[in-house]
């Protein structure tokens, strides 16, 4: 488990992950906020549906891909948290909706 060494000072940012409400600190990325909230499973691979979570936190490994406000393929470690954003696990290959 990860914890913050100091309680965040200047306010908080709330968002949801798979519907669960998460409190983050300003300056958090989606990945850091989720890790600090105890989440490790961010996506399932398109190849074998196995579970993956953040690995490098610097935009290199693409393991932390999530869906943010309906947009898939976002690198959670590269996106700053925003109030009210809705984050979901990316499950396998990207689905396409036929109109």
């Amino acid at each position: 488990m990860f914890k913050r060494i100091n309680a965040p000072k200047n306010g908080k940012v709330s968002f949801t992950f798979e519907g669960r409400s998460i409190d983050a600190a300003p300056g958090d990325t989606v990945a850091s906020a989720l890790m600090l909230a105890g989440e490790t499973h961010f996506r399932d691979t398109p190849v074998s549906q196995s579970q993956r979570g953040p690995f490098c936190l610097m935009g290199v490994c693409f393991e932390c891909l999530v869906e943010i406000d309906g947009v898939p393929n976002r690198q959670a470690c590269m996106v700053a948290v925003r109030e009210g954003m809705s984050v979901r696990r990316q499950k396998g290959a990207i689905g396409v909706e036929i109109e």
């Binding site: 398109p46 393929n73 290959a93 990207i94 396409v96 909706e97 036929i98 109109e99």
Partner: protein
């Protein structure tokens, strides 16, 4: 390359170029009992044959190519038996959609023309039928032309499989061995490659975009030029399309692979540098392919491109390859300049070349592909060969 013994430097057939055409011809020649050496300046399938879009299509072929394409298709259908490798070959429809009524009219004309020539593999799909094949196609598309029993395959896997099978049949494949000089001495052909001289009764030019220089040394003239088709591949998407798709009014080749990735190409080329094996992408041109793909398949809007690439291919001014004997020199043959659609032809043309070389003739109608359709200079040919 290590020094080969004299015996190893002699063969019936010397093939220049380790693309699908060189490897296929080598295999088929070996199956007819010929001893074959293949020279490849880089590695097998390094160029067009290893990086193409993998389209195995009869649809939309130049009329002269149709018999060769049909013959090739019959080999594709049993490719796993031939090569002990399925080559990733997937039978699937090839469909070219019309975005306007006028385009559809033109397609109807094409079907009528083919029917009058006795070919029935292309047909018109009305809007509704098209949509059953392509549920994700854009609403504005009005209909299509289709060849329902075409397909696609994995280009590198296929060419690699031809190489391996050829090697099992005794063909020697020499990689990193550029042919520097081809010349005729008495009844034989000499090939200078990798600081050694090789001798054979026959020589076959399968040098793709580089085929012009080899042709010149054989004494022929062919205005082939290097051309670099560009491709895009996306991340894996859930399955939404099982056909290979083109468009009647603009350049497009579009397919979803069994693994979910979508391969898009068919647009304007990048910049080839055949002298140093490089190509440069022209993203400002490639963007049109991206736009066309999104227009025809709106579901692609949110898809991510993982990679783009280009390959070096030989392009003839009339868009069809050079296939057949050399203009004047005996024992020399050409199969190059496939003008961005020669992958499908690989298995069939290799078989035809082997027949032509081994028996001296073929039933296949290859006349339209003769190098003689370009102006030749017999005196220069004499000089080159003396």
């Amino acid at each position: 390359m290590a020094m080969a013994s004299l015996q190893h430097r002699t063969a019936d057939l010397l093939v220049i170029g380790g693309g699908i055409h060189g490897c296929s011809a080598a295999l088929h020649a070996a199956m007819r009992g010929l001893q074959v050496i293949v020279f490849e300046k880089d590695t097998v399938a390094r160029h067009a044959s290893g990086v193409n879009a993998g389209g195995v299509r009869k649809l939309g072929r130049h009329v002269a190519e149709i018999p060769l394409s049909l013959h090739s298709m019959s080999i594709w259908r049993r490719i796993a038996d031939l090569l002990d490798d399925d080559c990733g070959f997937q039978p699937s429809p090839q469909i070219k959609v019309a975005e306007t009524a006028e385009e559809l009219e033109t397609l109807r004309g094409r079907v009528a023309e083919l029917n009058s020539l006795g070919y029935t593999h292309e047909q018109i799909l009305d809007r509704q039928t098209m949509r059953t094949y392509l549920p994700a196609v854009a609403q504005h598309c009005v209909g299509a032309i289709a060849s329902l029993d075409d397909g696609f395959a994995q280009p590198y896997q296929t060419t690699f499989a031809f190489q391996r099978k050829a090697q099992q049949m005794g063909v020697r494949v020499l990689e990193h061995t550029p042919v520097e000089r081809v010349s005729r001495s008495g009844e034989e052909w000499k090939v200078q490659a990798g600081a050694q001289e090789f001798t054979g009764r026959f020589v076959l030019n399968c040098a793709g975009a580089w085929g012009g220089e080899i042709a010149r040394q054989i004494g022929d003239h062919a205005p082939v030029r290097a051309y670099a088709p560009m491709m895009i591949v996306t991340e894996r998407l859930r399955p939404f399309c099982t056909a290979v798709v083109g468009a009647a009014g603009r350049p497009l080749s579009f397919k979803q692979m069994p693994n979910g990735t979508v391969v898009i190409g068919g647009g304007r080329p990048g910049v080839p540098e055949p002298a140093n094996n490089r190509t440069h992408m022209q993203m400002s041109e490639l963007r049109h392919s991206a736009q066309t793909a999104m227009d025809i398949f709106p579901v692609m809007r949110g898809a991510q491109i993982v990679r783009s690439w280009a390959g070096i291919e030989g392009l003839m001014p009339d868009g069809i390859p050079v296939i057949g004997p050399a203009a004047h020199a005996p024992g020399a043959f050409h199969a190059f300049g496939f003008s961005a659609h020669g992958f499908q032809l690989g298995p069939g043309v290799g078989d035809i070349m082997a027949e032509l070389i081994a028996t001296g003739s073929t039933q296949a109608p290859i006349k339209p592909f003769s190098i003689k359709r370009f102006p030749q200079d017999p005196t220069r040919a004499q000089k080159e060969l003396s």
